[in-house]
């Protein structure tokens, strides 16, 4: 069934539609551009102050032209540079159509935990709280379970919360869930998985979408 991270990224790419303004977090989300439909045009935004990023440069990378992870990028026609205050203005105000973030845990109310594992090294929150708060559509990507098999989709997050009630969709290598007022819905089962597999690996109650 292939590498879980690639499976997740490929499915997440389907959420990105023509004309959208998109912000991708570090980790699995950074793989999403590899799977985008080449016929669509989107603008990628980065928190450091750029809208309209193009692909990684093949040569002559510029130390002053990078994404929020510090990696070299290029720009597309129509791109703009601005300061990081304005970058977060767009983010908080809801001008980002879809924000795709990596997650450590998500609960059935859509609370996101992705910034700290207490007792381990603390990297800090970066822009995650604002990205999760502001995006019109927040998609959380993560492997379905921890390495020890414990579920990451849970009734209540045990890890400290990044942002409350923000996640709209969860994509794992096993399934796609959406989160609504009435809780968690299982919308899709990934190839090679069964309903029973998902039942075993999921730590929260969910309803099953009629489309399944």
């Amino acid at each position: 069934m292939g590498d879980a991270r690639q499976i997740i990224a490929r499915r997440a790419a389907l959420e990105v539609k023509d004309g959208m303004m998109v912000n991708l977090g570090i980790g699995i989300p950074s793989l999403v551009p590899d799977y985008l439909d080449p016929s669509i045009n989107v603008f990628f935004q980065a928190e450091n102050g750029i809208l309209g990023m193009g692909p990684t440069p093949l040569q002559n990378a510029d130390g002053n032209l990078s994404n929020a992870a510090g990696l070299p990028v290029t720009i597309l026609p129509g791109a703009s540079y601005f300061d990081s205050g304005i970058a977060f203005g767009m983010i908080r105000r809801g001008f980002i159509d879809v924000s795709i973030l990596g997650a450590l845990q998500v609960c059935s109310k859509g609370n996101l935990a992705n910034w700290i594992v207490p007792g381990k090294r603390v990297p800090g929150v970066g822009g995650a709280m604002e990205l999760a708060y502001g995006a019109k559509n927040l998609i959380a990507l993560m492997t379905h379970c921890e390495k020890d098999g414990s579920p990451k989709i849970v009734k209540e997050c045990s890890l400290p919360i990044t942002t409350f009630a923000c996640v709209k969709k969860i994509i794992t290598e096993m399934a796609v869930f959406s989160i609504h007022e009435d809780g968690l819905w299982l919308d899709e089962i990934m190839d090679g998985c069964t309903l029973a597999d998902i039942e075993d690996a999921t730590g929260a109650d969910y309803k099953i979408s009629t489309s399944l």
Binding site: Q45, I75, G78, M90
Partner: protein, 235 residues
């Protein structure tokens, strides 16, 4: 790329975006930087009971003043109305509610809404008549006024150049409040003197990124369609 992100439209289309009772943010400072063709379009729609928010009331024949003079604004939040005696008359007749705000505080309120924050604290105006209905907030041993964020239903902006995505640059002091007004509404409409293709503006020089802009119209004529007061005094 141009096709998918093209926001250029016509005055018929934008005239349908205005509605009775809307909150309208307008860019400009004494009429400088207020979009002349959009103002005429707004007037032609016949909308009324509009809640206006912007730096000032323009002049009776200039900028937003042309609309105010018709008596179709229900309220105005501005820093002054001194240059528009019509606005003063309407206010004194009880036909126009005017809320005065310190000039820089007003633009910060618009910015606060535009960047998705929930207002700010300041000492400006504390203890004065303008503070009468503003919450007082204690932080440590100091007391500040709370200034609420502003978000409009529609914003109208005047740019020197726009690309088809809505990236904007301005001309000299016609920039003034426009960059904040552009960020702070549900629907932002830009009138541009010149519209170019994506990629033709230097990305370093763009003042307002196109993400904030919903619709772009080309100016109906070059420059302003009114005379400035100092041009009239010349004669």
């Amino acid at each position: 790329m141009q096709h998918h992100f093209n926001k250029v439209t016509d005055y018929d289309t934008i005239s349908k975006l205005f509605f009775d009772g809307m909150t309208l943010l307008f860019g400009g400072f004494g009429g400088v930087g207020t979009p002349p063709s959009i103002i005429d379009c707004l007037i032609d729609t016949g909308v009324k009971d509009v809640h206006l928010i912007g730096n000032d009331a323009g002049f009776p024949w200039i900028g937003i003043g042309k609309f105010i003079s018709l008596g179709r604004a229900e309220s105005l939040v501005a820093s002054h109305i001194g240059s528009n005696p019509m606005a003063g008359d309407l206010m004194n007749q009880g036909k126009l509610k005017v809320e005065f705000s310190p000039q820089g505080i007003l633009v910060e309120r618009i910015r606060s809404g535009g960047v998705g924050l929930n207002g700010f604290l300041t000492e400006i105006g504390k203890g004065t008549q303008l503070a009468y209905d503003k919450p007082l907030i204690n932080i440590g041993d100091k007391t500040f006024l709370y200034e609420a964020p502003i978000i409009g239903d529609v914003a109208i902006v005047y740019a020197k150049k726009a690309d088809t995505f809505g990236n904007l640059i301005f001309d000299k002091t016609a920039r003034n409040t426009n960059p904040y007004v552009a960020m702070a509404s549900k629907v932002t409409i830009v009138e541009a003197e010149e519209i170019v293709e994506m990629g033709e503006l230097n990305p370093e020089e763009i003042i307002v990124p196109g993400i904030y802009v919903k619709h772009i119209v080309a100016s109906k004529e070059k420059g302003y369609n009114w005379k400035w007061k100092w041009e009239m005094q010349d004669k």
